[in-house]
Symmetry: C2
DNA sequence: TTGTACGCGTTATCAG
DNA sequence: CTGATAACGCGTACAA
């Protein structure tokens, strides 16, 4: 067995409570005994047992993360591990531990949350995505359990969350294309039940309207899975039935599928922009213009909101908006803007 | 406060120990009281407090993972998150919880390990990489703390580990190139202090020798960082000073740099093979031939070794070898094999 | 079959 | 400034 507070107390010839005091050096203790206790701790290589401490203080200094299990999204995209790293940076700063789980669906996510809450093992939860009418968010709210969401939830005024300004980011990207004289811009989005998709779609629509263009519903497509293949199919069909002169995609992965569709359609590439600034997008040919969303920062800030709240250090807001940055590469080069794919 | 075992006991009119017994349903209890206690647990929505249980049983059912913090490697490569998922699958099967940390260097890794051990918060550790004379492995051995390594350690006979047969995988790949009549095959590896690099290098060397070719030390290059850029530089220099007719790389990322170097050298592409079967390699042009190493399976088996050991269910071996699979794509197509880059 | 009493290692309250 | 003592919630010998 490891050495306990009692062993130290015995060696230093004081009571366990005194040892506990030097451990927290809050109460005023005489320097001599403090010295003696420190000596004892050192010579016994004593380290407090975190479990026992947790039981006594009824706090675990542990946060739980719930990751989606969608292989396509998870493995093509360094978003999650980057966000996890951002979380870990702030957590370390405040001595918090991190646990993780992969969930296969919303049902299993709820189960994980129930366990998290009942076990008393974690003090707060970080969710990596936000859906329309999200069951996890609703559940956590109902249980009044501390949590943060990465992604703008449906009710942004309650609870903690971090996000990019997805509306603005997509607005800007769309505006950029419009200013290059594109007028039939297709929207290519991911799952429609995700808030991120809807927020970006809103930005797209607003940009179209603000610039006096006609909003063409048939140019809006979303996928049911997070899949390059489905993007390929959707864009192939779109190009066959519509006039299109640019594509705004909500994710690089989807953009990759769209690019292949354009190449297969008739060798002609239209301007296209993705999101997430993936490594693959940087290095493929043509290099993909994309919006960097700063996942590490998103994770960091999400963690900050949660921990600060648990520690009683409240932030002025219940959310953080993380900057995005449009990174221009080959797929928005000038020569592409003259082209236009028309129904034949 | 959450409901405790006492509340249940009171409601069911039994003693706390009886409640504890139905919780573990080991001791023989009368069905009537068992029923009554279950009713009480249900109506109070009772869930045992995991912290208290851990303290009493002095086990936490928690494992700690230590991830490297190298952005280049971490974010370009879904290896880590795939392995983490594999780990989580087995952990869930046995009710184990998982914690994670990102370390910036070997020193910080040791610190994390010390905390893990002293805190008594985790029962075992999973390391994601193995170095030559690995300080973490040595430390864990010295402390006799349970752990598994993903990667073949320097002393494979002691401790738990999982790995691909890196020697054999690289041997096969090299042999494949030799059989296509390549005789000046360059080896492009990552950090030389990593066991994975050395194991693959051994396979390369053995294949060269076994086929009666001359081992040219100057065709062996390794990078000091895990970086596409450095691979680009190394291969550029290599091509300038040597005759080369194929490249065997230990990682897709490095292969990407090498491909760019070849393209810049004089538009000529040599056959090249990478490892890890990255998504980018599948979709780039030319699509990269690569060795799939099954990271999810590696994580799963690593976790299995550790948990089985902790639970007293010993495996016949102290390690698992996970299958690899060579996946052939554009960069090993026949037409490439006639070419040869010669010093001018 | 069930209850009592104590321990797990720490913190917190209350005396002194 | 320091030391008993009682929690924290659960598991488990030992009794009954």
């Amino acid at each position: 067995m490891a050495t306990t507070i009692k062993d130290v107390a015995k060696l230093a010839q004081v009571s366990p409570s005194t040892v506990s005091r030097v451990l927290h050096d809050n109460s005023r203790i005489s320097n001599t005994t403090k010295e003696r206790v420190m000596q004892a701790m050192h010579s016994l290589n004593y380290h407090p047992n975190a479990i026992a401490r947790s039981l006594a203080k009824s706090n675990t200094k542990t946060l739980g993360l719930i990751l989606p299990n969608d292989e396509l999204e998870l493995f093509q995209n360094s978003f999650f591990i980057q966000a996890m790293r951002g979380i870990s940076i702030y957590a370390k700063l405040h001595g918090y531990k991190l646990m993780y789980n992969f969930s296969i669906d919303e049902q299993e996510e709820i189960e994980y949350l129930e366990n998290y809450i009942h076990d008393n093992w974690v003090e707060g939860v970080i969710l990596f995505t936000s859906r329309q009418d999200d069951k996890c968010i609703n559940y956590l709210h109902k249980r009044a359990f501390p949590f943060t969401v990465i992604g703008r939830p449906s009710s942004p005024e309650t609870g903690f969350w971090v996000d990019n300004d997805n509306f603005q980011a997509m607005y800007s990207v769309t505006e950029y294309l419009i200013e290059k004289n594109c007028s039939s811009i297709a929207f290519l989005g991911g799952l429609r039940e995700l808030d991120v998709t809807l927020n970006r779609l809103s930005g797209y629509k607003q940009a179209i309207k603000s610039h006096g263009l006609e909003l063409q519903e048939n140019l809006i497509c979303t996928t049911t899975r997070f899949s390059e293949e489905e993007a390929y199919e959707q864009i192939s069909e779109l190009l066959n039935n519509n006039t299109v002169d640019a594509i705004a995609a909500t994710d690089d992965i989807l953009a990759f599928g769209a690019i292949r569709a354009m190449q297969d359609f008739n060798q002609t590439l239209l301007p296209i922009i993705g999101f997430n600034n993936t490594v693959r997008g940087q290095y493929q040919t043509p290099a993909l213009s994309s919006v960097e969303i700063n996942p590490t920062e998103l994770g960091y800030k999400a963690c900050k909101l949660l921990i600060d709240s648990l520690e009683g250090l409240d932030n002025p807001y219940n959310h953080f908006i993380v900057e995005t940055k449009f990174i221009e590469r080959d797929t928005t080069q000038p020569q592409l803007f003259s082209k236009r794919l028309v129904q034949v």
